[in-house]
Subunit: 549 residues, 2 copies
């Protein structure tokens, strides 16, 4: 029996219309680094989004679902692009300016972007690539920057303000099927080519609603949110759309992501909410120690992107009265996968136990743990498996590029369509997720999984250990076994026997490594994470001095 409700699609244009009328006076404040920040009302952003859509269609000939890319910081013009491009039926492609040049060129060509909107400050990054970008016909430059670097390039070059000036601010946004793509974001995988996730109007709309729920961030028209997380990184965790929906004012840091300007903009613009990765917060904390500033406006800051050290959370709370909320997600999950609010009635110490987990899943995200044998594991807080998730804002495939079909690599999607996150962890009986490893770093020993991170944390608890990294190495009997590599502190006297005894008192006997190696330092990736690929390679090639202990 069909319902009698109206069939109204959930689209970005609905968010745009709502924010720019009902919340007309909410503000988008863009930091400029010197002098007063730039201020625009939601009404003005809505009008300029209409002008941009006219410019893209009438002047640059953007049609249908063509892709329009942005290579931009977090600022008001980027928000205009966020709202205008999907609302007119085209697809917004946010370019990650931290990608290596060859990967940037790859994703622009793969998406067949017709237009690139670029901040003037990023022209030195774009200009050298342009000759490799076969589909790009127009470059639109926003704000100051040395445009001479574009001299002689093939695409036509436009100034953003000149392009939109004088055009009508109202645009007859088409009614779009909510399952159509609205925005495209590529994951920067460490192996293989970047893979594109095409968010739908529906997924963005539902994700925004969830973001605004009391159980998630709960931002309202009385809040101002500071998204430090870049708009090219999973849509700044969905905050720009969510803010425009709820009338939450936005404080945009543009390119001023260093601790000092962040502290300054917080003190002067008094945001109530903020979101960033742990390293940003760590830097801000040090900055505030060195030069105290009033950051008391902040009620909640959301941390995600990688696990947050509990000490950092406590420091913010105890020294600055700011509640840090831990959340988990990835490009493929829009990104809100889980968020760590403690359950009702938990006392303070119990609450901390919950808050350092990855948290609980919102109603629209279903989760399960796939065990080593492919079976699904109980939520007992003990059984560790690979997290798989399902929901209306979770990817079910990757973008095929051009007219290509979407594709579903087996290691990323289960046969019944769930996303394989590549994260390994446990879920407690009351639904809290604790992640311990990336699936590729887990040691698969005789049908059981050993957490490399658990062993590392236990080892690093030894007073003479500076760093420890545990990786899987092949083993004839067990398939894989852990190899423990340890960096001792200067002047340390412990030997491997002593370390093994220390570890043996802290973990299950069968997990205890037989292979040990003292090393000078743990190899690291460009973002400072342990590079276990290198360690495994060094072991395979016999470059490590390994003892059987």
């Amino acid at each position: 029996m069909l319902s009698t409700m109206q069939d109204v699609p959930l689209t970005v244009s609905r968010i745009l219309r709502h924010g720019s009328t009902i919340h007309a006076t909410s503000q988008v404040i863009t930091w400029t680094g010197e002098g007063a920040p730039q201020r625009r009302t939601f009404a003005e952003v809505g009008e300029r989004a209409g002008q941009l859509a006219h410019a893209l269609r009438d002047e640059l000939g953007v049609q249908g679902d063509q892709r329009v890319a942005t290579l931009m910081w977090n600022n008001a013009v980027h928000l205009e692009a966020y709202l205008a491009i999907p609302s007119m039926g085209a697809v917004l492609h946010t370019l990650n300016l931290r990608l290596p040049a060859d990967q940037l060129a790859f994703i622009v060509n793969h998406a067949a972007d017709r237009v690139v909107i670029v901040d003037g400050s990023l022209l030195p990054l774009l200009a050298p690539l342009l000759s490799a970008l076969g589909t790009v016909e127009h470059v639109v430059v926003n704000g100051p920057g040395d445009r001479s670097v574009l001299d002689g390039c093939r695409p036509r070059v436009h100034d953003y303000e000149e392009l939109i000036a004088g055009r009508p601010s109202d645009y007859a946004w088409p009614e779009i099927d909510e399952r159509e793509a609205a925005a495209l974001c590529y994951t920067s995988g460490t192996t293989g080519d970047p893979k594109g996730v095409a968010y739908s109007h529906r997924s963005i709309y539902l994700h925004s609603m969830q973001s605004n729920s009391g159980e998630s961030f709960g931002a309202t028209g009385a809040d101002t949110v500071l998204p430090v997380v870049p708009m090219f990184h999973v849509n700044a965790w969905g905050l720009p759309h969510a803010a425009f929906m709820a009338g939450t004012s936005l404080l945009m840091p543009d390119r001023f992501l260093q601790p000092a300007p962040l502290a300054e903009m917080i003190e002067s613009e008094r945001p109530t909410l903020a979101a960033a990765v742990p390293t940003i917060w760590q830097g801000l904390l040090a900055e505030l120690d060195a030069k105290p500033r009033d950051v008391s406006s902040l009620r909640n800051v959301v941390i995600g992107g990688s696990a947050c050290p509990p000490s950092l959370m406590r420091d913010f709370e105890e020294r600055h009265g700011i509640t840090v909320v831990h959340a988990w997600g990835m490009t493929e999950t829009s990104p809100l996968g889980s968020i760590a609010h403690p359950p009702a009635g938990a006392d303070e110490e119990a609450a901390w136990g919950y808050r350092i987990t990855q948290g609980r899943f919102p109603a629209s995200v279903e989760a399960r743990l796939a065990g080593p044998g492919g079976d699904f594991l109980p939520w007992d807080g003990q059984s560790a498996g690979e997290l798989e998730v399902r929901g209306p804002w979770i990817a079910g495939a990757y973008y095929g590029g051009g007219d290509g079909e979407p594709f579903r690599p087996e290691d990323k999607f289960s046969p019944d369509g769930w996303l394989r996150t590549g994260d390994v962890g446990t879920i407690s009986p009351d639904g809290y997720l604790t992640l311990t490893d990336r699936a590729k770093d887990v040691i698969k020993s005789g049908g059981e999984w050993i957490s490399s991170v658990e062993l590392e944390n236990a080892l690093m608890g030894h007073p003479e250990v500076a760093e420890a990294a545990v990786v899987a190495v092949p083993d004839e009997k067990w398939g894989e076994r852990p190899l423990a590599t340890v960096v001792l502190k200067e002047g340390a006297t412990a030997d491997l026997e002593a370390l093994k005894t220390f570890l043996g008192e802290r973990i299950a006997r069968w997990q205890l490594p037989e292979r040990w190696s003292l090393i000078e330092s743990v190899p690291k990736t460009s973002v400072g994470k342990f590079d276990k690929k290198v360690l495994r390679k060094q072991y395979a090639e016999g470059q490590l001095d390994v003892s059987e202990v």
Copy 2:
């Protein structure tokens, strides 16, 4: 370009699964009137919902989208029915126990209900109807009550607890198209037959998300909500679904809706949120004056159903520290149409000016004002028109009954599918709705609308006027003109000339009535509203003593 997101439907079974696992320990507390209230966890409610679904399918043979009715108060078993019936693919039909017997019989037959679940306390209401209910095959009785009144009735009679006992608590909830009907609720129109609104899984899901947003009620797992508004009245304003989604505990008043037990349950169970119509709050306020109790747990109470006197809102705030939030909606709007949170930055007096309006529309509700000439009016806070709304939880038709097609009366739905609410009002430039009249009570005078309520309020401001009702009467020149009927206080000395002068100083000249009548009392409907139908009839039949002043 299609997105790469998973295609996952928004269904009631998703709310059920989520609430009973992630929020397993949240509680449903049902007041029993004597002794301890009944307490069930969300996990238990989920298990019992599974058992109920098995009983309905395996024992009573409910299939496909058949209708299962409830004639019940707000209690845990009613919630089990709310969750189980739509989740199994059937349609929940909530029966309004305040309807006259002939209308109750009409809607049960129109919906072709196969099963009625009834509270034992309501058997005296159901029993006399049963012979007229042709499609009902089973009656399921919940809780104590004199079951002998069912002796000899045609449908088979079951005890709820016996029916579900021993059945499996897990049920393989089918994957349902989110646009299928989940629940059916009839409007109790004052004219014509009741008309059914069939909510979809999608509309219930989206409405729940909106309800939980910070801009609406913002309930979380840390809250307990007391829905005084009945579950047969627009799904208790959607609160049961929203609560199960967010893990908000529910305090269910069952049939104890009198001020004294309400005050008692608030004091002992300490809910943080509550929702009811103004008369309930008025009664509670008087009760608290007579016998003070601790109601300080309440953070927000939501008032809707009819306009709330500002004095009531101020009394709650000033005397009890409780914020009263004004909201507007109707059966056809699920019901969340608008909610009156003041805008950011408003000082206290300005905030009150916003809080007494009907409020702002959430992102999923679009609104427009249709003027007397059929044109759409500006949001200038002045132009009054009929409110029309559009959105994914707004009705676009009425249920046709049995296999009948949905129908769309012209006075309820515009040609382009918007709902005509029948409410007349203005919208301010910042999006706040102020309702003044029902469309049928507006005076259409020479292509302009005159608000009867505005004239009444102005007249009732006269110190000697007890009541005033203004109705439209036919006029040769203007089409319609206002007739002012006035009830003077005892001992009043004002005459009609004086009243007209008084009114003339407060409204625009062209709105001033020429026809006046002093009456003994204004005729009222059964719920105490002015019955303007009767006044118009009295005028037409020459029963009023009318002066041209």
